[in-house]
């Protein structure tokens, strides 16, 4: 039997991008809020930069992939049936410890894809419902950027100027100018100057730079630390087994296990799930009861369904001047190109994509394929020549595609395979669609055109980056109709009154940009709605 703990007003499960933001907002009310995190606090001095072996660490214990990392805080994801491997980081701050901090917003059109293009569903909320929360989040996380982007609505002044574009960024920008294509300096939650106690990046060094890592916002610092000052309680190394309800289906709290294996029942008035697009459906599907035999909040049958990732393709351009050093600066939050963002009836696919510019990686990553379409450089006699041809001399354009929701792309649980806390593991089924394939192929052709215009003498294409499952969305869809969605526009589940979901699970559609600012805006809005009753 679990040990009973005294009642608290609100439990938030997960302390990443959304959980941190929501916890801060709620903590301002004076409510008793407990944040449960399955990982531990993360010491920024543990970032693997600066040392000679940082590339070894980043391919092992600091891998994006929990199945490779295998830390105590990680759970295995059964992804053999997925075209793309899901990625995440488990700690206080979640995946905001392990990201490029590229932070574009959704477009207004992203919320209206059914109306505009007759595909998927419209969101029940609009860009304008989220705008004030996007603005608030940009201030809290610290956004470097500049206003005036013609591809997006005007927005509040950016708190910090953009990060340096570098000679390589300028090269791509000028090429886009010559083609008459859109480009804009990326909004980024990497600080370009000192900001709210965080040291700005000093414009020196490479992707590996520890100072660069520390200049990136993570929610343990931006949201959770101030929330603790407001009275938030954080409990680490706590893995939630299920959300509990009484015989009438009313929420009662959560059952979790701590690092010593002790099981607790935490009674609560409200529970907010913020465990990402895999962790959240995993908990819901594991929360079976007499009243909810198919898992909690799952009367629609949509919990775990409609998994969206943002499939990525990549085009890499090689440049042959002798004095290039395209390793300086952040790896990816440099320039965004949205020339092909919206549906064009002349194309054979719906919706669109963004380009995100990337730089050259370190030497081991270069040898292992980051400048050669994901294929390791040849071994043997030709190895050194191939390495010299690429090292510091390549630039990439990652094509981030809108991923339309499909029921067969899904998260299930495997009752027979469990983690150390006796929690069934998530099992992923995902296939890229024909629409996505056509979209990515168009993106690869466009990317080659831009790279050639920039002076590249050879372009290498990677049709699908299998290791790029950073964005986990759609598995507890937001909507108005309880038959076709899991949560309502306030992120409250249709089936259980005091249960909320605030991570990427609730996305109705995915847009074609990195999701974190939108996830956090939704989390802040939900907290606001809860506080206003």
């Amino acid at each position: 039997m679990p040990k009973n703990l005294p009642f608290v007003d609100i439990i938030i499960v997960g302390s990443g991008a959304s959980g941190g933001a929501c916890a801060w907002k709620l903590s301002e009310s004076g409510a008793k809020v407990v944040l449960l995190e399955q990982g531990n606090w993360f010491d920024q001095n543990d970032y693997p930069g600066d040392s000679n072996d940082w590339e070894i660490v980043s391919k092992n214990s600091f891998s994006f992939n929990p199945n490779i990392r295998k830390l105590d805080s990680d759970y295995k994801i059964l992804d053999e049936n997925s075209d793309i491997h899901p990625l995440m980081y488990n700690a206080v701050g979640g995946s905001t410890h392990h990201w490029t901090a590229h932070t574009p917003r959704f477009h207004p059109s992203d919320f209206r894809v059914k109306t505009l293009d007759g595909v998927a569903d419209d969101w029940p909320i609009s860009y304008w419902d989220l705008e004030e929360y996007y603005d608030l989040n940009d201030v809290m996380m610290g956004c470097s950027g500049i206003n005036g982007d013609p591809a997006n609505p005007p927005r509040s002044p950016r708190p910090m100027p953009p990060l340096p574009l570098g000679k390589d960024g300028e090269r791509i920008a000028q090429a886009a100018d010559r083609l008459g294509w859109h480009w804009w300096p990326s909004d980024s939650y990497q600080a370009s100057e000192d900001y709210k106690g965080r040291n700005g990046w000093n414009n020196k060094g490479t992707y590996a730079s520890k100072k660069k890592w520390k200049s990136i916002a993570s929610t343990d610092h931006t949201y959770i630390t101030p929330a603790i000052q407001n009275g938030l309680e954080v409990r680490t190394n706590c893995a939630v087994q299920n959300v509990s309800v009484d015989n009438n289906g009313n929420l009662t709290g959560v059952i979790y296990v701590d690092s010593k294996g002790t099981q607790y029942f935490q009674e609560a008035g409200k529970v907010i799930l913020a465990c990402n697009g895999i962790g959240t459906p995993r908990i819901l599907l594991n929360s079976k009861s007499k009243k909810f035999p198919n898992g909690l909040a799952n009367s629609s049958g949509l919990v775990g369904k409609n998994l969206m990732y943002h499939p990525y393709a990549s085009a890499t351009g090689l440049f042959n001047e002798n004095d290039l050093n395209y390793t300086l600066g952040p790896l990816a939050n440099i320039i965004i190109v949205q020339e092909f963002y919206e549906t064009d009836p002349k194309r054979d696919f719906l919706r669109g994509y963004s380009f995100q510019m990337n730089r050259s990686h370190g030497p081991a990553h270069t040898a292992l394929g980051s400048g050669s379409g994901g294929v390791s450089l040849p071994w043997g006699k030709g190895h050194h020549d191939e390495f010299s041809k690429r090292f510091k001399k390549y630039l990439g354009l990652a094509i981030i595609s809108e991923d339309l929701p499909e029921l067969h792309n899904r998260v299930e649980i495997d009752e027979n395979l469990k983690d150390k806390n006796d929690i069934p593991l998530p099992k992923i089924f995902y296939k890229t669609s024909q629409n996505t394939r056509k979209l990515l192929d168009h993106g690869l052709k466009s990317a080659e055109k831009l790279l050639r215009e920039a002076g590249s003498y050879e372009v290498i294409k990677q049709p699908l980056i299998e290791t790029a499952g950073w964005h986990l969305m759609g598995t507890a869809k937001m909507g108005v109709d309880p038959n076709t969605s899991v949560v309502n526009p306030e992120c409250q589940t249709h089936d259980v009154e005091n249960l909320y979901i605030i991570d990427g699970s609730v996305f109705t559609t995915s847009a074609a940009v990195n999701p974190t600012p939108t996830i956090q805006a939704i989390a802040l809005r939900t907290a606001d709605k809860i506080l206003k009753g």
Binding site: G49, D50, N52, W54, E55, I56, K59, N60, I68, H107, P108, S109, F111, R112, I146, G148, P150, A151, P153, P161, L163, P164, L165, G166, E170, A173, Q174, A176, D177, H182, W183, W184, P185, S192, N202, N203, K204, G205, T206, S209, K210, K211, T327, L328, G329, E342, G362, P363, A364, A367, L368, S376, L377, W379, G380, K381, H383, H384, D385, F391
Partner: protein, 148 residues
């Protein structure tokens, strides 16, 4: 780690075929010792299955068997075995490539030779601050986001 010292020794014999010397670049074995390889493998189990499969493959490979074991094959025969493994068991083969490349390109002596300087305070590694004049052309583009 589930790989024995003998198995490590078998794999280590292939290192210089994977990264040979070239101009001023040393071969893999000159910068990675066998002990280091063993220590690296003891720090993770990521490569255990792949490398064990490779050793099994090498032991069963006809040339190695005819010659009396993998330790006595000559360089040409080892190169042939590598080509064979790469085509027959590419996933396992890639684990060996990853370990050798990671270890080789993480050595400071290699970093010096390829001019890879991660020194944060070096002025050579400094980028110029953002210059808004680069927005001159793109700023003239008419806003094209859909007002919905």
């Amino acid at each position: 780690m589930s790989i024995s010292k003998l198995e490590i020794n078998i794999l280590y014999d292939f290192f210089d075929l994977i990264i040979p010397s070239h101009e001023n670049m040393p071969p893999a074995s000159e910068v990675i010792s066998e002990d280091e390889f063993e220590k690296f493998l003891s720090s993770t189990n990521k490569y255990d299955v792949g490398l064990s499969n490779l050793v099994s493959f090498i032991r069963k490979e006809p040339t190695a068997r005819v010659m009396g074991g993998p330790m006595v094959v000559n360089e040409k025969q080892r190169a042939d075995i590598l080509v064979f493994m790469e085509s027959i068991i590419p996933d396992d083969f890639s684990t060996l490539i990853e370990t050798v490349y990671l270890l080789y390109y993480s050595k400071s002596e290699i970093h010096k030779k390829i001019n890879w300087d991660t020194e944060e305070e070096s002025e050579e590694n400094k980028m110029e601050p953002f210059d808004p004049s680069i927005l001159k052309n793109i700023s003239k583009k008419t806003p094209f986001w859909k007002k919905v």
